[in-house]
């Protein structure tokens, strides 16, 4: 009996998949996505097949924490703006904290950091898993955006440990998708078995509700497993389906304002109501129209004729009536996004440039993420890459967590295909020495490596100031972000120009440790204990 877990810790939703092995069954047959138990919209404890909304509501008065749908409802209704939080993932790893008041004493504030909040989501997962899986969890893999820096990785790692996970591995989301795809690709009828016998350049295009990630990898069959070289990846972009909804909403509003007076004449509260209504209707219209298009995708004429009538009240009996959404209108509204130089394509171009490739060099595109389902996304990619490039629709919502579960399984077993990945980070790590920033860990640094850094004293001192930053280049120090730092008093006094040797190690989870004279000075694996009040003293769900 063995359980291998994969968790897709998403910005808006978290899903979990497991490979539960009892005997000698084929592992992929035992790969399934688990339900996550949580409070629903009406505060009834239930389980939700879809996953866990990554929203948290902290009820300090009752020492309770809610994760999932109930918290999300509260967040959306704005009932508890100070007690609810969403998009923890995008804020993890920094100094960002949330201050939560007591209901009974609003001036009484308590601070919580993102790592701890993340661990709450993971703990909800662990609780649900234990209800559905017998036995201990052997390995767990948590996916993170490829663009996560060392600090963010360390924070995620810490959150997993806080939640109570052991044997934790981190895996980049696009890599998880790729791993999943490579293991099930033989079941997808389109690909010949020997497709990867020759090297192929695969582009993973991951577009979710709020983020866009692109990775380009060179994949080659390596005696049944796969050798993967990451050639390049985009910076994480805060762009996704929400932005498409907003554009459609803007169109609705402009059409509305053609007939009615501008909503600016309304009160702020009314404007908020209007905007939320329009955006939610825009999303509905998009989803509904997308379904209609999917049914007639093969027929150009029927596609052109497909239309979605939009009718709804904006406020106080002022309505949008019989506004039509058609393929042409959508293309018009979304042209800044879907054009050949639009938001969807630009990051591809940049990633290609970084990888020193052209679009003709790409053999396969794996389209993943929720917004990948929107037909114009695939259409834009098809247009950009042309007919010769195969675009695999891998927008299934559990694609990432399933890939993560496979990664966990691969830690112990050999049954499934593995990937031998030479990974690179999107950023390098710099060490500050006086006013200079020296590159300590290059973005393509080999994992499990170590080295020595010579620290040169710029003035006489017995104090060693070690500060780590991450970023793309030291040319523009303003763009570098501080990770952590330490002032260490040394035994001896050093004169100007003297050199002290600092040892560093960079492990398989991309955690950096710096030591001097056998003593660990600094690590990007932040294990400082903030008390973890929520984890230790609060009732979760």
């Amino acid at each position: 009996m063995a359980n291998y877990l994969g968790i897709d810790l998403g910005t808006t939703e978290t899903t979990v998949s497991v490979i539960e092995i009892e005997g000698f069954e084929p592992p992929l047959e035992k790969l399934r996505t688990l339900n996550i138990y949580q409070y629903d919209e009406k505060h009834v404890f239930d389980r939700d097949d879809k996953g866990l909304s990554s929203s948290i509501y902290i009820d300090r008065d009752n020492k309770k924490v809610y994760t999932g749908r109930y918290a999300n409802t509260l967040y959306a209704s704005g009932n508890k703006p100070l007690n609810t939080i969403r998009s923890v993932k995008t804020r993890i790893g920094g100094e960002s904290m949330i201050q939560v008041p007591l209901d009974s004493e609003t001036q009484n504030l308590s601070s919580y950091d993102m790592t701890e909040l993340s661990s709450l989501l993971l703990k909800t997962v662990i609780n649900s898993v234990s209800k559905q899986v017998t036995g201990a969890i052997d390995e767990v893999t948590i996916t993170i955006p490829a663009g996560f820096n060392s600090d963010e990785r360390a924070a995620t790692m810490k959150a997993a440990k806080l939640a109570g996970f052991k044997h934790v591995h981190l895996l980049d989301e696009p890599t998880a998708v790729l791993l999943n795809y490579l293991n099930i690709k033989d079941d997808l009828d389109r690909m010949p078995d020997d497709y990867f016998y020759t090297r192929k350049n695969v582009l993973v295009y991951d577009i979710g509700g709020g983020t866009l990630d692109i990775s380009i990898a060179k994949v080659e069959d390596n005696y049944g497993d796969f050798k993967v070289d990451i050639l390049g990846r985009s910076k994480r972009m805060d762009f996704g389906g929400d932005d498409i909804d907003k554009r459609i909403a803007a169109y609705f509003l402009s059409e509305f304002e053609k007939i009615n007076s501008s909503i600016e004449t309304r009160t702020i509260e009314e404007q908020a109501v209007i905007v939320s209504r329009i955006v939610s209707q825009a999303e509905k219209a998009k989803v509904s129209f997308n379904q209609k298009i999917a049914k007639v995708a093969d027929n150009v004429r029927r596609r052109e004729r497909a239309k979605e009538p939009v009718n709804f009240e904006i406020i106080d009996n002022l309505k949008i009536t019989d506004l039509l959404i058609t393929d042409n209108i959508l293309k018009d509204i979304l042209s800044p996004i879907i054009s050949s130089s639009g938001t969807l394509v630009q990051p591809i171009k940049k990633s290609l440039r970084d990888s020193e490739l052209t679009k003709e060099d790409i053999d396969l595109v794996i389209l993943t993420g929720g917004t990948g389902k929107f037909y114009l996304v695939e259409e834009t990619l098809s247009k950009f890459f042309g007919d010769n490039v195969e675009i695999i629709d891998f927008t299934e919502s559990n694609a990432v967590s399933k890939g993560a579960a496979i990664h966990s399984y691969n830690q112990d077993e050999d049954e499934l295909k593995k990937i031998d990945i030479s990974d690179i980070m999107s950023d390098s790590i710099f060490i500050k020495n006086g006013a200079n920033f020296d590159k300590l860990i290059s973005h393509d640094q080999e994992l499990d490596s170590s080295g020595v850094y010579s620290y040169k004293f710029l003035e006489g001192s017995d104090r060693l100031d070690v500060f780590l930053y991450y970023g793309e280049s030291a040319k523009d120090p303003a763009k570098l972000t501080e990770i952590t730092g330490v002032f260490e008093t040394l035994k001896d006094y050093y004169r100007e120009g003297d050199i002290v040797e600092l040892g560093w190690t960079f492990d398989s989870n991309k955690i950096l440790k710096i030591s001097h004279d056998g003593k660990e000075l600094i690590t990007t694996n932040d294990m400082t204990d903030n008390g973890n009040e929520l984890i230790n003293n609060f009732q979760l769900n």
Binding site: D61, K64, Y66
Partner: protein
């Protein structure tokens, strides 16, 4: 191109076989000899041309032979001036000979070659004067290169000469067509005449040439010059003669051609006329025939049987006849049959009597007695009753089963209709719910007015005017139903929440009851 190359090389450096074996030394004496020979030959040629009838086989043969001999002479002249037998020269000669064989090209002696011959001779003369022949070599080669283009038309000649051998008058119209070729045709005529006359003499002189060549003749410049000028003048004379001959034969030939043309056109015209007449007559006849045929076919009534139908009908009639014949035969034999039947019946009666008596005798022994029959009957009856009993028992059982099934069926039907009704109700409710939800979401104001229509799917938790106390214990349960930010304390519901099919679609609006009021 191969032919052109071959001819080029021939003109530049060629040698007959005997010469390659035994290169002849170029001396003023043997040159004189050769030139004299040629002059003689050409003079003879002039005479012979007059004697041999044109277009005859003999004429062609002579012409061909002469050409061959003349080529040899020419080759001798072309190569010999150098007076060398070096390897390079021999190679070229062999190569060119091979080329001749390969291409099957016959060297013809045309205008161009005559001219070349002249040039060569002039060169030879000049060289022999200088007595340094090797230097002159290239200049000799060059003019010969220019000539091949002139020689080409001469290649066409033999093919033109051949038809003359056939002679039949019928072929003439065919010849008429290439009127443009005529001047070209004239050339061979001249050459043939030349060749015809000289061929014999050349054959005879060929062996002599070798002996003559070996003689050593003292160098006499003046003589050579004279001879060559003589030769030149003779050659020009010959050329003139040839030209006049060509002109003559051309005009003759042209006349003939005109005649033939005229004749053909006449024949054509008459043929046309005849053909026209014939065709007209034929057409007339055929139309007549056609009309008649049509008339005939019209006169035939439409219901008349086709041949096949008719023969079929006939066959049928014959069959009927045959059957009638059989019947009549049968009828004829009927009285006789009747008699035989009667007699047979009588015999049968007798037989039957016999049979019945014999059978009775037999049964009295084997057939069971009355008791046995009764016993048998009894067993049959018993079996029958048993069977009847079984059947009745089965019937009772079955009827009970059927009855229970019917009861069950009735129950099921009831249940079915019940669940059907329920399903319809649920479906309608769900549909109503969806519709209500959609309207409520899209047109909240209007929904407020018409919500009574959906009363079956609408419910609420908090009624208007209801007071709600928010405490730390119940706040989490309350919050989903209220639109405003809730604090701990007392609230009053201003507008009710709306739940459609169990989902909160519209949240209740509440108003906090003022603290002072509460305290007061």
């Amino acid at each position: 191109m191969d032919i052109l190359k071959a001819t080029k090389s021939l003109f530049s450096k060629n040698k007959s076989e005997d010469k390659t074996k035994e290169p002849v030394q170029k001396t003023p004496e043997n040159i004189d000899m050769t030139i004299n020979e040629i002059v003689n030959n050409l003079e003879n040629l002039n005479k012979e041309i007059q004697e041999i009838p044109k277009k005859s086989v003999a004429h062609n043969m002579v012409a061909n032979d002469f050409e061959y001999q003349l080529t040899k002479v020419y080759d001798f002249l072309a190569v010999n001036p150098e007076g060398t037998n070096d390897q390079e020269l021999n190679k070229q000669i062999i190569a060119s000979n091979e080329l001749i064989e390969l291409t099957g090209a016959k060297i013809k002696f045309g205008k161009g070659r005559i001219k070349t011959l002249k040039n060569l001779m002039i060169n030879i003369k000049a060289k022999s004067i200088k007595t340094e022949p090797t230097k002159v070599e290239p200049t000799k080669v060059e003019p010969t290169k220019v000539e091949p283009t002139k020689v080409e038309p001469t290649k066409v000649e033999p093919t033109k000469v051949e038809p003359t051998k056939v002679e039949p008058a019928k072929v003439e119209p065919a010849k008429v067509e290439p009127a443009k070729v005529e001047p070209a045709k004239v050339e061979p005529a001249k050459i043939k005449e030349i060749g015809g006359s000289s061929s014999h003499s050349v054959y005879s002189t060929a062996p002599k040439r070798e002996s003559m060549v070996q003689k050593v003749i003292p160098n006499n410049k003046v003589e050579l010059t004279d001879t060559s000028s003589n030769l030149t003048s003779i050659l020009s004379l010959v050329e003139k003669g040839l030209k006049s001959l060509i002109a003559k034969s051309t005009s003759e030939f042209a006349n003939k051609v005109d005649n033939i043309k005229h004749f053909i056109s006449q024949v054509e015209r008459s043929l046309d006329q005849k053909l026209d007449r014939n065709v007209k007559a034929t057409i007339d006849a055929s139309t007549k025939l056609h009309n008649e045929l049509q008339n005939v076919s019209k006169s035939i009534p439409k219901d008349i049987l086709k041949k096949e139908d008719f023969s079929f009908e006939l066959g049928q009639q014959f069959k009927k006849l045959d059957s009638l014949k059989d019947v009549s035969e049968d009828l004829e034999s009927l009285p006789a049959n009747y008699k035989s039947i009667k007699s047979e019946l009588a015999s049968i009666n007798d037989k039957l009597d016999n049979v019945s008596t014999s059978s009775v005798k037999k049964s009295s022994v084997k057939v069971p007695k009355h008791e046995k029959a009764v016993a048998d009957l009894a067993t049959y009856m018993r079996d029958g009753v048993e069977q009847l009993e079984n059947m009745s028992r089965l019937y009772v059982e079955t009827i009970a089963g059927i009855e229970s099934i019917e009861i069950e069926r009735a129950q099921h039907t009831e249940q079915l209709s019940k669940s059907k009704d329920e399903g319809i109700k649920e479906g309608t409710q769900r549909g109503e719910g969806l519709l209500a939800k959609k309207i409520a979401e899209q047109f909240p104001t209007e929904f407020e007015e018409i919500k009574s229509i959906f009363s079956s799917v609408i419910s609420f938790e908090y009624a208007v005017g209801q007071a709600v106390e928010v405490t730390n214990e119940n706040k989490n349960g309350l919050m989903p139903y209220f639109s405003t930010e809730l604090e701990l304390g007392e609230y009053q519901v201003i507008s009710s929440d709306i739940l459609i099919a169990g989902d909160i679609v519209v949240k209740a609006r509440v108003e906090k009851v003022a603290q002072s009021t509460k305290e007061g």
